[in-house]
Amino acid sequence: MTPPAEEGEEPPLEPAPAVALAGDFPSRPTPAEERRSLGALGLDPVWDPSEDLWRVDVPPEGWVAAAVGASDALQHPLSTLFGEAPREAPGTIRVHALFLGIRPSGGVHLRCALDPPRPTLPTLSTTLPYVAPFERELTEMFGVDVSGLADRRPLLLHEHHPNPPLRPGPASAPDGRRVEYSFRPVEGEGIYEVPVGPVHAGVIEPGHFRFQVVGEKILNLEARLGYTHKGTERLFEGKPSDLGSIWAESVSGDMSLAGAAAYAYAVERALDVAVPPGDEVVRGLLLETERIAFLLGDVAGIALDVGYAAGAARANRLREAAYQTLRAATGSRLGRGTIGVGGLRRPIRGNLDPDLATTYARWREAIGRLRDEWLGKSSVVDRLEGTGEISRWVAELMHFVGPVARASGLRIDLRHDRPYGAYVGTEVRVPRGLTGDVRARLVVKVEEIVESCRLAEEFLRRLPADRSPLEPRRPPSPGERRSGLGWVESPRGEFLVHVTIGPDARLERVHVRDPSFLNWPAIEFAVRGAILPDFPLCNKSLNLSYSGYDR
């Protein structure tokens, strides 16, 4: 056990590092270097300031080379891939692939227009395995034939689904065809299957898990999701751009503020809306408070699943205090309806308790004490160590994000790598684990709570003294078709929103990439070889969003 971190020093989280990691933040190419390496691939990038990315149009034949090349050249994986039925070219489908560089700016946005009658695109999943779910979604939603994609099962739409709902052109009637879903077979003597869900035992979201087990040992787990698919991305379409945050905060309701903020940044970048600095600081304060409440829930959940009820109760008391702080500031315990486009929906600085900084300082101490106490209990630590391991190699290969990736040793955090809003010019300490097990995830989450409290205190100090209410502002009308990208480090990791706004200031296409869309395979890796009773613990330590995946 390592002593608590000194102020100003990176908190060492793990005992006796198993691997020494050189270079925490690998040096990344600058935008100018990116441009050169993209040029070397035969691409002609255009700088897009509303996305902070190099935009390149490629034909379907050049898709794989460009995507794999971009991913190599930028040393950064694909962040999201989605389809669009562009309004300016009715009947066609355009596919977007975004590669966010881990730097304040830079990265690539590939676009590919597909032939209307038979839209086909070669798969990227043979080189970049984590892209398969994106391509499955593209297939079922837009009817794009992704050639070479091994797994062609539907992702979000279940058996009753009609034809691809987002395919442009005249809507064809449901053909009543049922696509049977078959799980990956695992066969052999003594292997049996345990189906779980979609309704689970706790107060959690629905999803189906299929375990193949020998004795108590899990050989394979396959998660089937889509149960909470609500067609959220389609609901944005046609709405005024300042109203979209209502749906953005309902993507993952336990991260309402992060969703609303990512959406707001996307629209603000698209329409060049300036946000008053005071509002940005308040946004930062709210986002950190949400993170504190959220991560305390994970801490409590892990405690509960190892039978440490006292620890859970104490974490939940703190969590309640955090939600009440949000309510006192915004009127909503989850902070809903607060972050709008152009700033805050309503003035909240006047609601802040003048003593709020001491509250955060108290939480910081309380969570630190809780950590020391329960990491001193051998019966607790015993259940956490070595459970649900995700190696750094897997985390990197599968492009996991957020605390899950950090616990496996990756130091990625958008607040640090690609700062936005109040985080520009703010030092964010990014904790990192080494072992990738439940213990590492717990310790990383605890350290993140401590860091969030510190950031909240800092934001409170930076709040402008002027408490006069701000006028709610409406975004200007674009007059031409604009697009923008918003990113926020949510409590679960990188949260992306991409918007396209039409000349009438209405939303034409909104794509939301919840961090859990990348992280869901983590559960399948974490439980492989574990015993069945450890599944709830692994699940809780990863805390994946079902609704964020399904939308």
């Binding site: 979201e205 889509g226 909470t228 939940n316 939600y323 315990r333 989850l334 309503r346 020391d372």
Partner: protein
């Protein structure tokens, strides 16, 4: 069990609980004691007919069409459906005449869906009655009055409602002090508490879960989604409310409803308290905190 030391830090002094120092987290007595509403700006919209000029700005601002303003019949008819409301406050910001105000009111749960619909205008024909016959209701009260086992089902929520349902088990709300338990299986449950707009992909699972509950059972629909589909009500992927699929005994509005609202809703289902909202009218004593 033998104690094996894994991490031997000097065992710290027993950490004081975030107790009295954090009044926000201390246990409440409600619904057995008085309701103390936590601080924070009020969020429940209130329509004041005497100030209304019938501009319809609120209806245009509302993301879920919870408000309708109709002047085609001569006098203005304003309808506000708390079952669709997200408590976002956009209508209040939009109203030019100050007719939309916000109040602090959380005891919003009702037995009859019609009681969530406020109507300001000339009298209209009475709406349909409630669902459960009085005798069944009496039986529910007799059977479950002091011991109720409920099973929570997420029928496609955004997980916001789950946060608040789970909060019922936290030390502050401590549902079990009321004799109410959240159980792991519908077969152990007397009732269901359902969140989410009922996605097409969850409909079958929800129906099967309901059939697995031994009767007589009842269903509590939670949140704007559970009542009307909430922000997702226009999506073809959702059924748009629990009562499209199952008979609902109590509706708890909110997005999400606060734990206090949920406690009230469960207490109402057990017949322990009277319903406070009638035809969408918030009772006068709740309006004493001045509207902002």
């Amino acid at each position: 069990m033998t104690e094996r030391t894994v991490d031997p830090p000097p065992r710290p002094a027993r950490a004081p609980l975030p107790g009295p120092a954090d009044p926000a987290a201390s246990p409440i007595r409600y619904p057995l004691g008085p309701l103390e509403l936590p601080v924070g700006p009020p969020r429940t919209p209130l329509h004041r007919a005497e100030r209304c000029e019938g501009t319809g700005a609120c209806a245009r601002a509302c993301p879920t069409d919870a408000i309708s303003v109709d002047r085609s019949l001569g006098p203005t008819v304003v309808e506000l459906d708390y079952g669709k409301c997200l408590f976002c406050g956009l209508c209040i910001d939009a109203c030019p005449s100050g007719a939309m105000a916000s109040v602090r009111f959380e005891e919003m749960a009702v037995r009859d869906r019609a009681d969530l619909r406020l109507r300001h205008g000339p009298p209209s024909p009475p709406l349909a009655g409630s669902r459960l016959a009085d005798e069944v209701r009496e039986r529910v009260r007799r059977l479950y009055g002091d011991s109720l086992a409920i099973r929570a089902v997420d029928a496609g929520s955004c997980n916001g409602c789950e946060v608040e349902v789970a909060a019922l088990l936290w030390p502050r709300y401590d549902l079990e002090r009321l004799g109410i338990q959240l159980v792991a299986s519908p077969r152990h449950a007397d009732a269901l508490i359902v969140t989410g707009p009922v996605t097409r992909n969850m409909r079958l699972a929800l129906e099967k879960t309901y059939r697995a509950v031994p009767g007589p059972s009842f269903v509590v629909a939670v949140g704007a989604c559970g009542i009307s589909g909430g922000p997702f009500r226009d999506s073809p992927e959702v059924e748009g409310g629990v009562d499209r699929v199952l008979p609902v005994e109590v509706y708890v509005p909110g997005c999400p409803p606060s734990p206090v609202s949920l406690l009230y809703g469960l207490w109402l289902a057990l017949g322990k308290v009277d319903q406070r909202l009638a035809r969408g009218e918030i009772p006068a004593d709740a309006l004493r905190s001045p509207p902002r």
